[in-house]
Every structure is written in structure tokens, then in C-alpha cells.
């Protein structure tokens, strides 16, 4: 790798956006080129310095309330302009009919298997929870608060683990509906990403190998262990999500 190319790709190297072979080339170049490695050190300092010290402006507490209050009114407003655009709604309806027909044919041709269906369901549940206002029913980082909250709401007691030390702090839990039943969802955080962990009894004691599923930038991994089904969904990249699964396994084992 020459200096020109190295300078161009330097930011991507600092941000971990290079592929393995380019990153290796870059590493080799930096070992020998004093000037490029000086540039690299400067960029890396800013990169780490900002992450460590720059202010993250979290929303003030009253903002959520304020936005929530404003919401229903805006929904009503959103439906008003339809009157003026009624002629488009015919085209829209025709299009919707064709789309629905095409969709049902494609569904018929490609009926998803059980894992995929479950993955879809879980990703949709996760999305709904993020867009609506119900990602968390019980907000607490204390597992001794979250676990009892499920008492009486479901007919099993999910294991609630504190993974803060491993980089996945517990944020809370909620009830959701998956695989035709009420299930416990434990919500963890990793950096700015939320992870939904669905937990429900599997009906048998068999362990199952992990299966994964991706859609629209969301990833899901499902597995079975000790009579429980686990399904983790997040917009984290798949590597971090499998790390979460491993961390969880290691903690259960202890």
C-alpha cells in the first residue's frame, strides 16, 4: 500500500470499516511509514478522545412527556389532508389490491419455515416496541426488580441475569406476544443499541443449536437451553449479537 492510498483509507482504518486484507495491508504500511503513522495517531486520538470526553446530550426528562402529549393530535391531523387527495386513493386502492394479490401468491410459493416465521415475528415485535412507547414495561437495571415483576403475568419464571460487567447492562423487561403465547422479554443495552431477549418454555429439555435470521438491518438469534427457548433481536451487528449470546450462556453456566 502506498502513502496516497493509506491516507485516503486512514479514517476507515480508525473506524474499523476496512476489510481484513486492507486492514492488514494498512497495518504493515503504518509499521514502516513514520508520516502515515503520525497521521494515524492523531486521528485515533480524536476518535478515542471524543468517545471518552465529548458530551452526549441525553434528552431532558420532560421531553418524553412533552412529545407523548403532542402525539394524538398529530395523528388526527395526518388523516385530514386525505379529503383533498381522494382521486389518488383510487389508484392507491388498485395498487394495494394488486400488491396484496402478488404478495399472497409469493407467500403461497414461499411459505417460510418455522424459524423464519419466529424471526419475523420477533423482529416485528421489537420494531413495534421501539416505534410505539412500550419497549420497556418495567425499567430497572436491578434483576431483583425485573424478575418478580413477571410474577403472576406469565406462568413461568425467566432467569434474569445482570451482564453489566460484560458490557450488556440490563435496562428492563416487558411482556410481549410471540409464538401464540405471552412471553417475557428482557431488554439489555449494548452501547446505544437495545437488545430484546425473548424467553419462554420450550416444552422439552433438549438443547438446540443457534439459528439466525436477518431482516431490514435487524438480526435475530434463537436457541434452546435447559427447557427454555431464547430469542435475541437487535440492530446490533451479528458478531456483537452472538457475543451477547455467548456471554449469556457463560453466565447461565455459572
Amino acid at each position: 500500500m502506498d502513502c496516497d492510498k493509506a491516507r485516503t483509507l486512514l479514517p476507515a482504518y480508525v473506524d474499523g470499516e476496512l476489510g481484513i486484507s486492507e486492514a492488514l495491508d494498512m497495518g504493515a504500511h503504518l509499521e514502516h511509514c513514520v508520516e502515515c503513522s503520525r497521521q494515524h495517531a492523531g486521528d485515533a486520538m480524536i476518535h478515542h478522545g471524543m468517545r471518552r470526553r465529548a458530551t452526549y446530550h441525553a434528552a431532558p426528562a420532560h421531553l418524553a412527556t412533552r412529545v407523548r402529549k403532542a402525539l394524538p393530535a398529530s395523528r388526527a391531523a395526518a388523516t385530514q389532508p386525505r379529503v383533498r387527495r381522494w382521486d389518488w386513493s383510487h389508484a392507491g386502492a388498485a395498487f394495494a389490491t394488486i400488491a396484496a394479490l402478488a404478495w399472497s401468491i409469493s407467500l403461497y410459493l414461499g411459505i417460510p419455515d418455522a424459524t423464519e416465521r419466529l424471526g419475523q415475528e420477533a423482529v416485528s415485535a421489537h420494531m413495534r416496541s421501539l416505534v410505539g412507547d412500550r419497549a420497556i414495561d418495567v425499567a430497572s437495571s436491578d434483576r431483583h426488580t425485573v424478575k418478580p415483576w413477571f410474577n403472576g403475568k406469565i406462568d413461568y419464571a425467566p432467569d434474569v441475569l445482570d451482564l453489566t460487567a460484560q458490557g450488556f447492562p440490563l435496562v428492563g423487561g416487558r411482556l410481549d406476544y410471540l409464538a401464540d403465547r405471552r412471553v417475557a422479554v428482557l431488554v439489555y443495552r449494548h452501547r446505544q443499541h437495545l437488545i430484546d431477549l425473548f424467553v419462554w418454555p420450550s416444552g422439552d429439555g433438549a438443547a438446540g443449536a443457534p439459528r439466525d435470521y436477518s431482516r431490514n438491518g435487524y438480526h435475530a438469534i434463537s436457541w434452546k437451553r435447559a427447557g427454555m427457548n431464547y430469542l435475541a433481536v437487535s440492530d446490533l451487528d451479528p458478531v456483537d449479537l452472538s457475543q451477547f449470546q455467548e456471554v449469556l450462556h457463560a453466565s447461565v453456566a455459572n
Partner: protein, 171 residues
């Protein structure tokens, strides 16, 4: 509202004002709700941040049109960029490292960067988004994300070095 913090953080860094950021976030959240039906791809956070960003820019443009004394871009960075192209990162590493530990200096330098550089730095370093996500949010090619981040980091280290001097820290 799990992405409220991300929305507010971006709006606050772009608008540089707490009350403006609140108004922008509220408007962006309303838009997000209204248009959710049309939402198809990718992560909810990136999608919401794209709406926040666009709301911000519209908001600032409206303000600039009504109050002509508020410039959207700082005029001072023509000089800064020229210097950037000529040389590059020549701040003393130890001094830079010390300045980076000072949140007040760092925030000040970041706040005074031109908005297109501030934007990519906030999305990358504070929101930890990938180049692909930043490209979608800022509506620019991935290559531009990379080159902007490069210039943004160099400009920030230059300004940090300068900000210390003004305060009498010396180099």
C-alpha cells in the same frame, strides 16, 4: 421512547441550543409517527435520525431566512481548510491528548466546527453509527462520509490546539 436520547443528542449538537433541540425533536417524532407506514428499510434509529437531521436543517434554514444575521455555516473555515490542505495534523500529540481530556475545550471546539463536519463526527463517535448508516442519514455517498470524517478530525485537532492557546495554555 428508546431513541429519544439519540434524537435529542443529534438535534442539540446540530442546533447548538437546548430549546431549539427540544422543538426539533418533537417535530421529528411527530413526522416519524405520521410516516411510519412508509417506512421500509434499515434500523429504526438511523431512520429516526435521518428525520431529525432533515427537520434540523429545515428549521435552521427557516430561521436563517427570517433572521438573516444567523449564518448556517461559519465563514471562518475557508482559512482553516486551506491550512488543512497544505499541511495536516501537526499538533503536538501530548498537548492534543491533554486538551482532549478537557470536556469543555473539546465540546467548544466541536460546537464551532462547520455543521457538515460536526454532523459526521457526532454520528460516528457519539452515536457509534457505521459509515453506511451515516451515509443514509446525511444523504451522501460512503466515500464522502470517509473524507469528511478525515477532515473533521484534522480540523478538530487544529482547533483544539488553537483553543488552548487562546486560553493561555501555550503549546
Amino acid at each position: 421512547m428508546p431513541h429519544l436520547d439519540a434524537a435529542y443528542n443529534l438535534a442539540r449538537w446540530l442546533s447548538r441550543s437546548n430549546p431549539d433541540a427540544e422543538d426539533i425533536v418533537q417535530e421529528a417524532m411527530l413526522r416519524a409517527y405520521r410516516f411510519f407506514g412508509g417506512y421500509r428499510g434499515d434500523t429504526a434509529r438511523a431512520w429516526l435520525l435521518a428525520i431529525v437531521r432533515n427537520t434540523c436543517f429545515t428549521w435552521m434554514k427557516d430561521r436563517r431566512d427570517s433572521i438573516s444575521s444567523v449564518p448556517l455555516e461559519e465563514d471562518t473555515d475557508g482559512a482553516g481548510e486551506a491550512a488543512l490542505d497544505a499541511g495536516s495534523n501537526d499538533a503536538n500529540p501530548e498537548v492534543l491528548l491533554a486538551r482532549l481530556e478537557d470536556t469543555r475545550l473539546l465540546d467548544g471546539a466541536l460546537e464551532n466546527l462547520p455543521i457538515e463536519y460536526r454532523e459526521v463526527l457526532v454520528l460516528r463517535e457519539l452515536e457509534d453509527l457505521s459509515y453506511r448508516e451515516i451515509a443514509q442519514i446525511a444523504n451522501i455517498p460512503i466515500g464522502t462520509v470517509m473524507s469528511r470524517l478525515s477532515r473533521a478530525r484534522k480540523l478538530l485537532s487544529k482547533r483544539l490546539a488553537a483553543s488552548g492557546k487562546e486560553l493561555g495554555y501555550g503549546l
